[in-house]
């Protein structure tokens, strides 16, 4: 099952509230003061060595939808959705999820930035099998709230995986539970850390009227128990010094059987 992430960062809410503009704290304060987004939850980020490295706030994903409604001038509906988001943020699955997020960042400290937290979601949270139960409960509840909101009826969502990367700079995304296909520019997906074969993607379309449509792509979660095999996950980023040191050292691996393997 591919689904949207249940928790998002302040930056993501602001990017939905003012697409294409640099996120600004003043805008977010205004949303908060007017109760157009939820209260959020604090996540403590330790630095290497176990010292506290600060904290960031994360929000129920419904706050993004509330921000969208606020931009559309539907303030009452936005406040109602923010209240639902607050309730979800106080729920048991979210508390479990938060505890696991903090456990994960303790195991692999991240920089004290909101972007880093989004990165934690993309690269860690979605891949912990022990998170899936909490995740599935949360995402199911959030999807039900979205479906129940008449104000969100003009928004369409699509969940799928990157199935093909075209030479023309496009990416083909195939629907998770269906056969629809969507083409998007690779460059736009790459901005979100997406664009590799198999990446789970959520796409949201929002009508702007008179034929104009806003398309928003974001990393999604795969909650199918057979989807992720940690031993096959080769994603590894080395900093330049680390790489140079490795390449500079004497070989540690010996080629013992150069002719054993049958050629195809």
């Amino acid at each position: 099952m591919i689904t949207a992430r249940p928790l998002v960062s302040k930056r993501e809410i602001l990017e939905t509230y003012r697409p294409g503009r640099e996120p600004a704290d003043t805008l977010f304060r205004s949303l908060r003061n007017n109760k157009l987004v939820s209260d959020g939850l604090q996540v403590t980020l330790p630095q290497a060595g176990g010292r506290l490295g600060g904290s960031v706030r994360i929000y129920c994903a419904l706050s993004k939808d509330a921000a969208r409604l606020a931009r559309q001038g539907q303030s009452d509906e936005a406040r109602a959705l923010a209240r639902v988001a607050n309730r979800i943020e106080g729920s048991r699955p979210v508390k479990q999820l938060l505890a696991m997020i903090e456990e994960t960042v303790r195991a692999e400290p991240v920089a004290n930035t909101e972007d880093a937290l989004a990165s934690v979601f993309r690269h860690l949270i979605g891949r912990r099998r022990d998170l899936w139960k909490s995740m599935a409960e949360l995402t199911t509840r959030i999807e039900k709230e979205r479906a129940a909101s008449k104000a969100l009826a003009s928004q369409l969502s699509f969940y799928g995986v990157v199935a093909r990367i075209g030479a023309e700079g496009t990416v083909e995304i195939v629907e998770d539970r269906g056969s629809r296909r969507v083409m998007l520019p690779l460059a736009e997906l790459a901005e979100q850390g997406l664009g590799q074969l198999g990446d789970a993607v959520a796409i949201h379309w929002e009508s702007f009227g008179r034929g104009r449509v806003l398309t928003e792509a974001e990393p999604a979660l795969r909650l199918d128990p057979t989807d992720y095999r940690p031993f096959l996950d080769s994603r590894l980023e080395l900093d330049a010094d680390d790489l140079a040191a490795l390449l500079d050292e004497e070989p540690t691996v010996e080629i013992r059987q150069p002719l054993l393997t049958a050629r195809p």
């Binding site: 456990e103 994960t104 195991a107 692999e108 690269h123 860690l124 891949r127 912990r128 590799q196 074969l197 057979t226 095999r229 940690p230 031993f231 096959l232 996950d233 080769s234 994603r235 590894l236 980023e237 080395l238 900093d239 330049a240 680390d242 790489l243 490795l246 390449l247 050292e249 004497e250 070989p251 540690t252 691996v253 010996e254 080629i255 013992r256 059987q257 150069p258 002719l259 054993l260 393997t261 049958a262 195809p264």
Partner: protein, 175 residues
């Protein structure tokens, strides 16, 4: 070499191996062994066919008179620096059938079957991509035999894995 087995013969896996792979048993019930066994039984063949054009994935099966007794796989891993792919080999899989576990192979040095398979996977990767200098694999931190195997074959550097239950082991290949 009284109890040593004849050297299992490696070849690329084919669709004709599906039935045998679906019955492949390499787990004694430990969670990290279950995951590998499940992958081999349900996904490895299709995954290899899907990945091969993109990553150079090679799924190797090792046969004796007893059939497929081990499985190995390698490909170009997603190892980057500054966002740029670094030439590398990722060893995705080394699995030995339960009845061949810990047995020695009747070749020079008498390696265990697991060591023999890893040696072969490394050799095959080097043959495919002679310029690769970095080679790495992921294993569960609890999987002491796998950690010992990787260390014995020169995967001596450690790096974190996105899943905290796992660790990466890196080695450097000769030019």
């Amino acid at each position: 070499m009284a109890d040593a087995v004849d050297a299992p013969k490696p070849r690329l896996a084919t669709a004709g191996d599906r039935a045998e792979l679906q019955a492949f048993a390499c787990s004694l019930g430990l969670w990290y062994e279950d995951e590998v066994e499940e992958h081999i039984r349900q996904e490895a063949l299709d995954s290899a066919a899907w990945r091969a054009p993109h990553t150079g994935h090679r799924l190797l099966v090792y046969e004796t008179v007893d059939g497929i007794v081990a499985v190995g796989a390698h490909e170009v891993g997603d190892l980057t620096s500054g966002g740029v792919l670094v030439p590398n080999t990722y060893v995705g899989l080394v699995a030995v059938r339960l009845d061949y576990r810990r047995r020695r192979v009747a070749v020079a040095g008498e390696p265990r079957v697991g060591e023999y398979v890893l040696d072969s996977v490394i050799a095959d990767a080097k043959e495919q991509r002679p310029d690769d200098r970095l080679i790495y694999a992921s294993t569960a931190k609890e999987n002491a035999p796998s950690l010992r195997l990787l260390h014995s074959r020169g995967f001596i550097r450690e790096r974190a894995h996105p899943d905290p239950r796992f660790i990466r082991r890196l080695g450097t290949l000769p030019r």
